[in-house]
Amino acid sequence: MEDVSDRELLAQVAAGSSDALETLYRRHVVWLSVRLSRRCADRSIVDEVIQDTFVAVWRSAKGFTGKGEPAAWLWGIAIRRLVDAFRRRPPAMALVREVDLSVIESAEDRVLLGVTYGDLGGALDRLAPELRSVVQATVLDGLTTREAGHLLGLRPGTVKTRMMRARRALREELA
């Protein structure tokens, strides 16, 4: 599957190859869809955003400078397209799903969590939901305050306040 790297594919897309775009699409559509679906419960919006994302990839493949992971670049485009989609439609209609299954997480999951975030993982888990979603949007998804506001249906001021509270809570936890 990885005979041609993502970087090479992007170079081919920049040169005008729709086949390369399709290969890239088939490779990345699943993880991008799932990740988007965890921020937007509406399937049709997710589909629309995926489509917008790959059209944007076609147009801006030249802009991928080669620094950093192609996958990160793709996610950056996708999440911003989601923000655009939310901006076009009232946020109330596009529910951000918050699934709370912490009770049935297995021991393996807890180990995994510790591995990726170290002490932070558990602390994140213990944050209040509204603070955690802000941390996820800004820290994990790399959005600006304003973009996070669009995604979550909050004013930028509220996003900043919650980030401050989250930081304070995490610092207290880890101290």
């Binding site: 965890r38 999951d109 180990v111 969590l113 990726t116 888990d125 996820q136």
Partner: protein, 276 residues
């Protein structure tokens, strides 16, 4: 157990893609996937084929099909069907450069008309003639590299040329008429350039299968110039074009041309295709 050696297994992949994995596990997986192509590939079999295919078809359509030419984009934004816009966008005399040139000349003539009577003569010469020449140019002829393939296509040539002619006339004669209203003197005199323009265009349409379009248009333009100039020289009347005689003749010529085009539509169609 270090972060580098941890990867997804099939069970976890299935949990994650079906949305059943807990939120923090999912967050970890998401961060991991950014850097690990192997695990991303593991997810690919969990795609929903119909959904993926449908989305991809949409991407391909948006990448390949939208018009790359500005004229076509303009036509489609005016509500025209994409197939008709595509047929029209090939017309040389609908291109921005052509229409700008025509408009430029007309505006210059207009300005000249407002300073001297000679300028009025100039305007009355050019205003009917420029739309006609634009129509002649719309026929492409040797200007269209695809005419060999177009000639063998089932689409009726007469319909194609009628639509192109209508578009060209609308884009050239209407501005000319608008500018004519700004001429000194009564407006109805200046409107006298409309009917002769349509009449000249009609003659071009009827004769063009048999004669090369642009030289024909040039000849007709010359004849018109002589007519207007003689009106000025002999009778000191810059608005000879608006005279009853000329208007009546124009109507006659126009009606005859239209009649001929309608009656001999089939042979007209074939002649256009076969023009060498």
């Amino acid at each position: 157990m270090t972060a580098q050696t941890w990867h997804l297994d099939h069970e976890l992949a299935e949990h994650y893609t079906s949305g059943q994995a807990g939120r923090d596990v999912s967050a970890s997986i998401e961060q991991h996937l950014i850097g690990c192509g192997q695990c991303r590939d593991l997810l690919v079999p969990y795609a929903e084929p119909q959904r993926s295919d449908r989305i991809w078809a949409g991407v391909l359509e948006r990448v390949q099909a939208p018009p790359s030419r500005p004229l076509e984009r303009l036509l489609r934004s005016c509500g025209m069907s994409d197939s008709m816009a595509r047929l029209l966008s090939v017309t040389p005399s609908l291109r921005g450069s052509w229409l700008t040139a025509v408009l430029f000349v007309l505006v210059l003539a207009e300005l000249a008309a407002n300073t001297s009577t000679g300028g009025v003569v100039l305007f009355m010469t050019l205003a009917p003639v420029l739309p006609m020449i634009s129509v002649a140019a719309a026929f492409g002829g040797d200007m269209d590299p695809s005419r060999g393939m177009v000639a063998a296509a089932p689409y009726p040539m007469s319909r194609l040329l009628l639509v192109r002619t209508a578009a060209v006339v609308a884009c050239t004669l209407l501005p000319a008429a608008a500018l004519a209203l700004l001429l000194p003197g009564p407006s109805w005199l200046a409107m006298g350039c409309l009917l002769p323009s349509l009449a000249l265009t009609g003659v071009v349409l009827v004769l063009t299968p048999r004669l090369p379009a642009l030289p024909l248009a040039g000849t007709l333009a010359g004849a018109w110039m002589v007519l207007v100039a003689s009106g000025w020289i002999r009778h000191h009347d810059p608005f000879l074009a608006a005279s009853f005689a000329v208007q009546l003749t124009s109507v006659g010529v126009l009606v005859t041309s239209l009649a001929l085009l309608v009656i001999r539509q089939a042979s007209f169609d074939e002649q256009i295709r076969r023009a060498p």
